[in-house]
């Protein structure tokens, strides 16, 4: 191969008068380096050196030759090679990466040697033992971008290989590269071609969801500014459905509200409850239909029943599961949280107002299920927009504070599980045919909140973190700029008693719906 290149060079030199004395040619440039090389050297200098040399001799050099490439130079922790064919260059990269993955499996993680590889197609200047040109720089930049064990290619390489090499490619979009004027299209080469489709689709779904959220906010705002007469008609319709509601458990529990000073929202709720007819009181219905709009003059939407909590310090977490450690003190600011998870009826009001993406199925007084975190965010955005109140998802700390109800025990009622206290798997003697059961079917906790544990899983605002190392201590949501999974709390009717514990936490993909996932809302004062 080396001879061949010399041949080309000498042929050109022979025919043409020497220009700047530097032959150029188009080549696929492979730049590779070992991630964490200095760390590896620090761990075991001689051992690492020997291993790297052996890898270069046994794997890198033969692979390059086998794919008709030429090793231009090796650096301490990497190499640069050129290939005539982009297909061969990428093949070589894949072979090296797969081989390294195999070699690493028998080793502890901190001894892994992992290459990052970047491949670019560029017009380069070739010298005996080095190559130059921004095509080389770009290959190095791609290599720097790549995660350990990954192979990144430029758009130029991709165009050449896309229909020739059966592997997956994930577009990472146009990336701005240091010292290179135009953005460069970057692709990640995936081991499994099937993985690509879904990634693309996931992006589409994400874009769709974001636009839907905006639509939700916009339509919420629009709703607010609609002529008032229309709102009144809507309210009448809503309240005429009231006889289906069973308000009994709420009516029995007014004392539960004494947890703290009652916010205007709650006063509002109580006023409304008084005006709402009992299921049997049919004649009162019309009267209520007239009264209800008066009671809720501030907005046309039936707001969730909220319990105001005083907040204060509490110990969050437990030692029962690694994800719940360390137990740490969090101070919660006063806030209100919905007494129940959001119901099918409440959800469908959002859907009817075009604030939510789909119509929920199930009984009106059952919790809404099959909602993703993004769906839940749509609902709170709609609710906040149409009521002009700061409705939101609770933070993870707020949720646990509310679920504990002022207790520090394993369950809010004590250290031992008691059957019949929560809707979970194998938690009662009788099997319920239809799940999830009606909201408020079990005892409320000391804060007067129902279904905080069991029933439906409940989304909170926070991104998922595998434990509480570095968690905020002020009750604010723990967010990252880009999180693909969020925290779910409470456990569901399909989980066993361990999941009912207020400290229990789990995660789920942000944009994915699952049949046991619901949510409740919070309100800042």
């Amino acid at each position: 191969m080396r001879d061949k290149i010399r041949d080309i060079n000498s042929a050109r030199n022979a025919k043409l008068p020497p220009r700047a004395g530097t032959p150029r040619r188009l080549a696929a440039i492979v730049a590779a380096d070992i991630s964490g090389y200095s760390r590896l050297m620090e761990l075991d200098e001689e051992g690492t050196h020997v291993r790297v040399k052996r890898i270069q001799r046994d794997l890198v050099e033969p692979s390059i030759t086998e794919h008709y490439g030429r090793l231009v130079k090796t650096t301490g922790d990497g190499f640069i090679a050129i290939f005539d064919s982009p297909v061969e260059a990428v093949r070589c990269g894949i072979v090296i990466q797969q081989n390294m993955a195999g070699r690493n499996t028998s080793l502890p993680k901190d001894h892994w040697i992992e290459y990052r590889i970047g491949i670019n197609l560029g017009d380069v200047i070739i010298e005996e033992d080095d190559i130059y040109g921004d095509g080389v720089n770009l290959a190095s930049r791609l290599e720097n971008m790549a995660d350990p064990g990954q192979l990144y290619i430029s758009g130029g390489i991709y165009e050449q290989i896309k229909n020739k090499l059966v592997c997956g490619y994930e577009s990472l979009g146009d990336r701005k590269v240091k010292n290179i004027t135009d953005p460069v299209r970057v692709y990640r080469v995936l081991p499994d071609p099937a993985a690509v489709k879904s990634r693309k689709r996931r992006d589409t779904v994400l874009v769709l969801l974001i636009s839907l959220i905006w639509l939700g906010i916009a339509s919420g705002a629009l709703w607010y500014w609609l002529p008032h007469s229309k709102l009144r008609i809507q309210t009448n319709q809503v309240s005429s459905e009231v006889p289906n509601v069973t308000q009994a458990p709420v009516a029995k529990q007014p004392s539960q509200l004494s947890q703290s000073s009652i916010s205007p929202t709650i006063a509002d709720q109580q006023a409304r409850q008084q005006t709402q007819p009992l299921p049997s009181a049919a004649p009162a219905e019309k009267q209520a239909a007239l009264q209800t709009p008066l009671a809720t003059q501030t907005s046309a939407i039936r707001e969730p029943e909220m319990n105001a909590l005083r907040g204060g310090p509490f110990m969050m977490g437990s030692n029962d599961d690694p994800s719940e450690k360390p137990v740490h003190q969090v101070t919660i600011k006063p806030f209100a949280i919905s007494r129940y998870p959001i119901s099918v009826r409440e959800w469908n009001e959002c859907f009817a107002a075009k604030g939510c993406a789909f119509a929920a199925t199930g009984k009106d007084d059952a919790p809404v299920t099959n909602v993703s975190w993004s769906d839940a965010k749509q609902f709170v955005a709609w609710l906040a927009g149409s009521t002009r109140k700061a409705y939101r998802l609770p933070t993870e700390a707020e949720w646990e504070h509310a679920a504990r109800g002022g207790t520090q025990t394993k369950y809010w009622w004590g250290e031992e599980f008691q059957p019949g206290m929560a809707n979970c798997k194998n938690c009662a003697d009788t099997v319920v045919a239809e799940q999830p059961v009606k909201l408020g079917s079990f005892k409320p906790n000391p804060f007067g909140l129902y279904d905080m544990g069991g029933g439906v899983d409940q989304w909170v605002e926070d991104c998922w973190h595998k434990n509480y190392q570095g968690a905020p201590s002020d009750g604010s949501p723990w967010l990252d700029s880009d999180c693909t999974s969020h925290v779910i709390r409470s456990g569901s009717w399909k989980n066993d008693a361990r999941y009912v514990r207020p400290a229990n936490r789990d995660s789920y993909d942000t944009n994915v719906r699952y049949p046991t996932h619901g949510f409740r809302v919070a309100l800042s004062p």
Binding site: T105, K109, A195, K197, S198, R202, T484, T510, Y514
Partner: protein, 141 residues
């Protein structure tokens, strides 16, 4: 008359089975679900990346109902048999990859663990018959 009776009988026999397996989608016969890594019997120190392989089918986002596609579920230390008439459970032992992930970082407690992949359809139901990988055992040091 006999034919009618036989048809009715056949209908009566097939209908309930349809009702029971209402969700059961069929996976292509040549579809293979497997672990790219780790291999059965592997001994691993600390956390590791578990990589899922699927041949002759596509991986999609949960909720996307395309022909011959599904998303991965990883069962860790699960001994109960899989119920094809229920969505694949979601808990600490049934890890879902509804965003179409084909790999996951696992941090398991030291000791022996079993791992098995199950492909789920758009609504998280297993295929029928279920498309599952070999159940492998790994040891975490």
């Amino acid at each position: 008359m006999k034919i009618v009776r036989l048809t009715l009988l056949a209908a009566a026999l097939t209908l309930p089975s349809f009702a029971v397996h209402a969700q059961g989608k069929q996976a292509p016969k040549d579809a293979v679900l497997y672990f790219v890594w780790p291999q059965n019997g592997a001994t691993i120190k600390g956390g590791f990346w578990c990589r899922f392989g699927l041949r002759n089918m596509g991986v999609t986002h949960a909720g996307d109902d395309f022909q011959n596609s599904g998303h991965h579920h990883l069962l860790v230390d699960v001994n109960e048999p899989l119920d094809v008439n229920e969505p694949i459970p979601q808990d600490k032992n049934h890890i879902h990859f509804g965003a179409g992930q084909t790999e996951a970082r696992l941090e398991l407690a030291p000791g022996r663990h079993t791992l098995q992949l199950v492909l789920g359809d758009a609504k998280h139901y297993p295929f029928n018959p279920p498309l599952v990988s070999e159940k492998i055992t790994v040891t975490i040091k």
